[in-house]
């Protein structure tokens, strides 16, 4: 399934766990430090993120002249952001989270309440990811270091993304884990 940003609440509420999607439009990165700046320091995200997707990612970039080139951009472990993500959703108005490894109960609840989905991108697939990034539209908060800065990407058919937390309260990771516990 193909989707384009800005995503509407209706776009997102239709998605269910197990759907495979490819996303085009604008996504931006935010990981530990940028999340903390928004959630703990109450700073305003430097972009209008309404309807966009946040990507848990610390890329490898290279500056050629004035132009930033993305060399490698796979997802980072999302669970590190579990304590901050619901507040991040509330203050930014994002509609999609892209990461790896899944998120917990707090984020699942926020996805239901605000109409957001969590999508898994294959961990380590950094070159497949970089190939979907057409250009770096902007970068903010570079003072936090390259992996932690907020990178704004224009992407074309970014994916494959697997909807693993939908806005109906389903969490694929928790289902897999629950089943696994009975098979130990």
């Amino acid at each position: 399934m193909d989707l384009k940003t800005p995503l509407s609440e209706r776009d997102v509420r239709r998605l269910k766990v197990g759907d495979v999607i490819y996303l085009s439009g604008i996504i931006f990165t935010s990981r530990d430090k940028a999340h903390s700046r928004v959630v703990h320091d109450n700073e305003t995200l430097p972009i209008d993120a309404k309807g966009l997707a946040v990507y848990h990612c610390g890329p490898i970039v290279r500056k050629d002249g004035k132009r930033w080139n993305i060399i490698s951009a796979g997802p980072t472990t999302s669970s590190r952001l579990e304590n901050m993500e619901s507040d991040f959703i509330r203050s930014t108005g994002i509609r999609m989270i892209i990461g790896k490894g899944g998120m917990g109960e707090k984020t699942t609840k926020a996805c239901m309440e605000y109409g957001v989905v969590y999508c898994s991108f294959t961990g380590g697939a950094s070159l497949v990811g970089a190939d979907c990034i057409k250009r770096v539209k902007d970068v903010f908060w570079l003072d936090m270091g390259i992996p932690e800065a907020v990178w704004v990407f224009e992407v074309s058919r970014f994916g494959p993304l697997v909807v693993s937390i939908d806005s109906k309260g389903n969490n694929l990771y928790e289902d897999v884990k629950r089943r696994a516990r009975t098979r130990v």
Binding site: I60, G124, L127, P160, D175, A180
Partner: protein, 284 residues
């Protein structure tokens, strides 16, 4: 760059961009036998990424890891003095050349210092007989490293309890360490020794069993149990959760039974080179 700088430069490049064939083969096997739609898609994306990295000579993963060098240096190797400086120099140059992600953060100032930092890259020295030097690089990613574990068992706990600990831990880690993983287990010695053995066990090729029959059987049994849980590629469900289980051990103290886990993601990056006394090199 000196010849030694260049060799280490090439070693870092090989480890970061060229997934060992044993690991790729295991991933391909996992892909072929997988029937779950989502799991198959994960493995297909992984294999595509491995191919792209090799073709373009770019890092397999954007997390290019903490660089850990295992140096088995012959007591009569003539260039002992140069090894440390060559490692530092090559790391600095290669960071911009490949490029690698700047991955050294000072724990107190939070400053990112590139890939050279306090005691990092880490060098694990081992003095051996002879005139050769073997250098192995293990770039270790943060996501899988965060899934490390250590448990100090009672000697009376028994092997079953230890096996349960390993399997339960992999289940609770779920998708976090980027499965299918390689599970490195260190048993005995002491807390630090068990952890070092666990990490060192990751240097063994995927598919290679311990030479000790009892240990080899335990590795097989654990692999089967871990894959029976169905955690699957990326924790999204499926047949392959681990590509292999490797166990290294040391004698234990009568009162202690340490068991350490070092988990490696599917991007099981490692490379080795042997440097001869006369400067000849052999890639492994």
């Amino acid at each position: 760059m000196s010849d030694l700088d260049q060799i280490i430069f090439d070693l870092i490049k090989k480890a970061s961009t060229d997934l060992p064939k044993d690991t790729e083969k295991a991933l391909l096997y996992a892909y072929k036998k997988e029937t779950d739609r989502i799991a198959k898609l994960q493995l297909k994306t992984i294999l595509e990424n491995v191919r792209l990295a090799r073709e373009r000579q770019l890092p397999i993963c954007q997390d290019t890891g903490t660089l850990i060098f295992f140096v088995d240096v012959g007591i009569d190797f003539p260039y002992k003095r140069e090894i440390r400086n060559s490692i530092y120099k090559a790391v600095e140059i290669v960071t911009n050349a490949i490029p690698l992600r700047p991955n050294c953060v000072d724990p107190f100032t939070d400053k990112n210092t590139g890939n050279l930092g306090e005691k990092i890259p880490w060098i694990e020295w081992n003095v051996v007989e002879g005139k050769d030097c073997k250098i192995t690089l293990l770039p270790k990613g943060g996501g899988s490293e965060n899934c490390s574990a250590l448990e100090m068992f009672n000697p009376s706990d028994g092997m079953e309890k230890i096996e349960d600990f390993v399997v339960n831990h992999i289940v609770e880690c779920n998708g976090k360490p980027c499965p299918p993983v390689i599970v490195g287990i260190g048993i005995g010695g002491g807390a630090d020794i068990a952890m070092k053995l666990a990490k060192r066990s990751l240097l063994r090729p995927v598919g290679e069993r311990s030479k000790n029959k009892t240990i080899a059987d335990l590795e097989e049994r654990l692999l089967k149990r871990i894959n029976g849980t169905g955690i699957g590629p990326m924790g999204l469900g499926g047949k392959t959760t681990a590509l292999d289980v490797h166990i290294e051990y040391a004698s234990r103290h009568p009162a202690s039974f340490p068991v350490a886990l070092s988990i490696q993601c599917w991007a099981n990056r490692r490379a080795s080179v042997i440097i001869k006394e006369d400067g000849d090199i052999k890639w492994i």
